[in-house]
Amino acid sequence: MSKPTDLVQGTLDLLILKTMAAEPIHGWAIAQRIRDVSKNILQVNQGALYPALHRLEQQGWITAEWGESENNRRAKYYSLTKDGKKYLQREEKNWDRLSKAIGVVLRTV
């Protein structure tokens, strides 16, 4: 992916935030999980992932900590902040509304 458009960027943010809703997770695992859960339809390019992660961290939605990964290597773990959780809920609702509306338009028009 070259420089992502705004819409795609927002959606990517939403996916990233959702993956870390349950527990802290590092960047590689985020990409893996999104790929696995979407059954290989959504493949996140690392070139888009890390800038997105840094941006989300700058904006205060997520926070990072260095920890030990499964194979005992140092990895940076991201988790949601309190504001991030609220933001995620808001964005999920928005996405629901948006996709339902698009669906209605596509069916009726």
């Binding site: 590689w28 997105a52 940076k76």
Partner: protein, 889 residues
């Protein structure tokens, strides 16, 4: 909470840049490893797997750049980069940097200094609570002149003016503190008990005056200033309740006791704007009940201030006072000379105090702003010239991808840097300039003690510096970034002068115009001063020494003793070698001395009369001063106690009162006199307050014949050259008669003459200084533009010469270019000066703001100076060798 996290993250990115980059590297490493591991598990070889992982990642560097951009600290980093680059550029061109920084430092420093002087006087509110509610109230006399108030009027207003919370009156008081050492005359005020309440400041030690202190024959109490307390009492806190010995004018006696009880000390920051040098205050203790015409309670000699209630406005106060003036009530009868028939003049205290100096200060402020503008224009020109030299650099930058706003931002940063350096140096200039200002300032400058560099002034400097940086840098920045790549990268064969020259030419025209305005102002003031000093004072001012002698102390209660002292002093001084003549006068010409009494002429109907200046003199005064006699005779030693009272009046007064007929032999009565005096002579007019003020109506009388004798007289001594050297001997002579009498205000008449025009002179000096700076800057500006033009046109000049132009023709060509700029600037400047000089009207004397001599003189000066400035580059152009320049392609 989110913003806290955001800010701390930004700080970390900024300060621990390396650590953050390392983190990112490590994170990417981890990701690539896991990706490689996955690829290996899918069947690739390790090398292939790593390669595939890298490819999928894309170029790591640009990716890292994306991450960095996401961290959004670029702006700050860019800014710091710009600043470092700017510093390097300035260091590489020390000549340019030095000139620009110095120019700006001069402009900013001068502006700051003037602002620090003008701010406390004109802009800052007075240092009293709710100072806008304090009003100054004057009696309006003929011609709209502000006159002093009588105590009777004060009494009436206290009871009748409801809009005022408190009203106070004051007069100046100069007691002598005797005791150990030399007698010291203090400056102070006699005030009503409400004085400090009106101002709103209370003593920090002890207590304020109360109504019970201000009764006739009441206890003598005094409040000291902080300065006096420190100086005389060493800040001793037990000073309250102590007694001090003060002696004072014998005419306002309070019995033989002259010890005062100290009841309070004012705070150290206290400024008495009505009497800046006052150090001691004591109640007036005038008598409410007295109402005779002769007593001081009905004399015009008090100044009045009042504080409005919080719910009253200035207009309400004014209207009420007018109403009171027009409605006389039986409870408060008024004598005819205090009838208030013309009403009051009411001004806010701040306006009143600054009234005299406002036009002068505002014009100086305007002038210094002009200088700053010129300095700014000069620096802009310098930057433009540098910009055209750096065309190559900007072209390369643009080719590498810099956008125009980025270039402009960098250039603005450079000019802000320049301005900041100029500002820092300017503060140093300002410190020196402020000291010079305070030293040069005319003595009557209000709030002079508040002049200095404080927080407001520094804030002003910083704001000004930033503004200058942006202003001076904007045009060059826009210009430099506008250049097309093509012409920039081609270093050679620049055939035309280009758009730069246009802008620089316009700037030079502006400089010339502004400099012209300043010079016209200076010229007008110079001519005013010349006119002023050519006014005849009415007496011979050369070799005249004056000093003020006061006799005080209870030995001098009786008139006879007082007169004996003065006579003895005259005698003793007359015997000092080098003294050719000596006399006393109660009012010294060319000072602010005033002694006015009502004069009633026998020929006019009773009740009519006017105020005159009453000069109490000793025999020989007129001859000493060189005042000519027009009719009749001078006063002499025969006009003494017991003889018929003789007076002399001045010529213009005589002409007005006796248009036809002879004033000699006519009779008049002065003030509280019961019998008529006879006019025995008419003498020439003498200027009193200053050379510019009108000649007052004057009546001269011998001190021995005036019962309400003065205790302060001015000694005038005429000697041979260098009278000032006689001063110690003369003082000794006076002290040989009585060693306890203070002698003050020693100065020669020439010094007094100069001091009387001090204010105008001060403004002139300012304008002169600014004018010279402006002229120099404008000359430098012309020189710079022409120089740059010649450099750019070298090839063209070479071609011209090769085609047959003589060096003279080239010289004329360049000269014409320069003089055209000057001419346009001069025309604009003339129009501007005609407008701007209107603002100087109150300071001019004897000439109009459109005085042709001044304008022609200034134009001539400008033409000469700019011709010289043009000559150097023109000379350089004429000496061009076409062979060299044409071959240099």
């Amino acid at each position: 909470m989110r913003w806290v996290r955001k800010i701390s993250l930004r700080f970390r990115s900024l300060l621990h840049k390396d650590a953050v980059e390392r983190d990112l590297d490590e994170e990417l490493c981890f990701h690539i490893e896991r990706l490689s591991a996955e690829n290996i598990a899918a069947g690739m070889t390790p090398a292939e797997a790593r390669r595939a992982a890298r490819i999928e990642f894309g170029g790591t560097e640009s990716f890292k750049e994306d991450c960095r951009e996401a961290r959004k600290v670029d702006h700050i980093q860019e800014f710091s980069r710009d600043i470092r680059f700017g510093f390097r550029m300035l260091r590489k061109n020390p000549g340019f940097t030095a000139v620009a920084v110095l120019t700006l430092a001069l402009g900013i420093g001068a502006c700051t200094a003037i602002f620090s002087a003008v701010n406390p006087i004109l802009f800052e509110p007075l240092p009293y609570p709710h100072a806008d509610r304090i009003l100054m109230i004057w009696d309006r006399s003929d011609g709209g002149v502000r006159g002093s108030i009588t105590f009777g009027t004060y009494r009436e207003l206290v009871k009748r003016a409801a809009n005022f919370g408190s009203i106070a009156v004051m007069k100046s008081w100069q007691p002598t503190s005797s005791g150990a050492g030399m007698p010291q005359r203090l400056n102070g005020q006699n005030v009503s008990s409400t004085y400090f309440r009106v101002l709103g400041v209370s003593p920090v030690l002890g207590r304020d005056f109360q109504a019970s202190d201000d009764i006739p024959n009441g206890p003598k109490v005094a409040i000291l200033s902080d300065g006096l307390w420190k100086r005389q009492f060493g800040s001793d806190p037990t000073v309250i309740g102590r007694q001090i010995t003060l002696t004072e004018d014998a005419s306002f006696l309070r019995g033989n006791d002259d010890t005062y009880l100290v009841i309070g000390v004012m705070p150290s920051g206290f400024e008495d704007v009505l009497a800046p040098t006052a150090e001691i205050w004591s109640p007036l203790q005038y008598d409410w009940a007295v109402s005779t015409a002769e007593s001081r309670e009905w004399g015009h000699h008090l100044h009045m201030v009042g504080r409005l209630r919080s719910n009253s406005t200035l207009n309400q106060g004014r209207q009420e006072l007018d109403l009171i003036a027009n409605t006389q009530v039986p409870a408060y009868p008024r004598p005819p000379w205090a009838s208030l028939k013309l009403g009051f003049i009411v001004d806010s205290l701040q306006d009143d105090v600054t009234r005299g100096v406002k036009p002068a200060l505002l014009s100086i402020l305007g002038a210094v702003m002009l200088v700053l503008l010129i300095a700014c224009v000069n620096v802009t020109n310098l930057l433009l010239a540098r910009g055209s030299q750096r065309r190559g650099e900007f072209a390369v930058r643009t080719a590498l991808g810099a956008e125009r706003p980025r270039l402009i931002r960098q250039l603005l940063t450079e000019s802000l840097l320049l301005a900041a350096l100029g500002g820092v140096l300017g503060i140093a200039v300002a410190v020196i300039a402020v000291r010079a200002l305070v030293a040069l300032a005319p003595p009557g400058l209000p709030r002079a003690s508040a002049i200095g560099l404080d927080g407001w002034v520094l804030a002003f400097t910083i704001g000004l510096t930033a503004l200058i940086g942006v202003l001076a840098g904007l045009i060059p920045a826009v210009h430099a970034s506008r250049n097309s790549l093509h012409s920039g990268l081609q270093e050679g064969s620049r055939r035309t002068a280009g758009g730069h020259q246009w802008t620089r030419g316009i700037l030079v025209v502006a400089e010339v115009a502004l400099a012209l305005i300043l010079l016209v102002g200076a010229g007008l003031l110079l001519r005013s001063l010349a006119r002023l000093f050519s006014v005849a004072p009415g007496f011979d001012t050369s070799n005249l020494l004056t000093m003020q002698v006061q006799e005080s102390g209870h030995g001098y209660i009786k008139d006879s003793v007082r007169l004996r002292f003065f006579a003895g002093a005259l005698d003793a001084v007359g015997r000092v070698p080098g003294v050719t003549a000596v006399a006393f006068t109660s009012i010294l010409p060319l000072t602010s001395d005033r002694e006015e009494y009502g004069a009633q002429f026998e020929k006019d109907k009773p009740g009519s009369g006017q105020d005159v200046f009453l000069y109490g003199v000793t025999p020989g005064y007129f001859e000493l001063m060189g005042i000519p006699i027009h009719r009749g005779r001078f006063l002499d030693a025969h006009d003494t106690t017991g003889a018929p009272v003789a007076v002399v009046i001045n010529a213009s007064f005589a002409k007005r009162m006796f248009a036809t007929g002879d004033p000699i032999g006519q009779r008049l009565k002065l003030g509280p006199q019961k019998d008529w005096d006879t006019i025995v002579g008419v003498v020439g007019d003498v200027r009193q307050e200053s050379l510019a003020a009108d000649v007052p109506d004057a009546v001269y009388i011998n001190t021995t014949q005036w019962e309400w004798g003065d205790t302060v007289l001015s000694l005038v001594v005429r000697g041979h050259a260098d009278v000032a050297l006689l001063s110690p001997a003369i003082k000794q002579a006076i002290w040989s008669v009585d060693k306890d009498q203070p002698i003050v205000r020693v100065s020669t008449m020439s010094e007094l003459l100069a001091a009387s025009a001090a204010e105008r002179h001060f403004v002139f000096v300012m304008f002169e200084a600014f004018g010279i700076v402006a002229l120099t800057l404008a000359a430098i500006g012309i020189y710079g533009v022409l120089s740059g033009s010649v450099t750019e046109r070298l090839r063209e000049i070479g071609v011209r010469m090769a085609l047959g132009a003589t060096p003279t023709r080239i010289l004329a060509l360049i000269l014409r270019q320069g003089m055209t700029l000057t001419a346009i600037g001069a025309v604009l400047g003339l129009m501007g000066a005609a407008l701007a000089s209107q603002a100087l009207i109150t300071l001019l004397f004897g000439i109009t703001p459109l005085d042709p001599v001044t304008y022609f003189g200034v134009i001539a000066l400008m033409v000469i100076v700019s011709a010289i400035a043009c000559l150097v580059p023109a000379w350089r152009a004429a000496r061009v060798d076409p062979a060299i320049t044409l071959r240099a392609e």
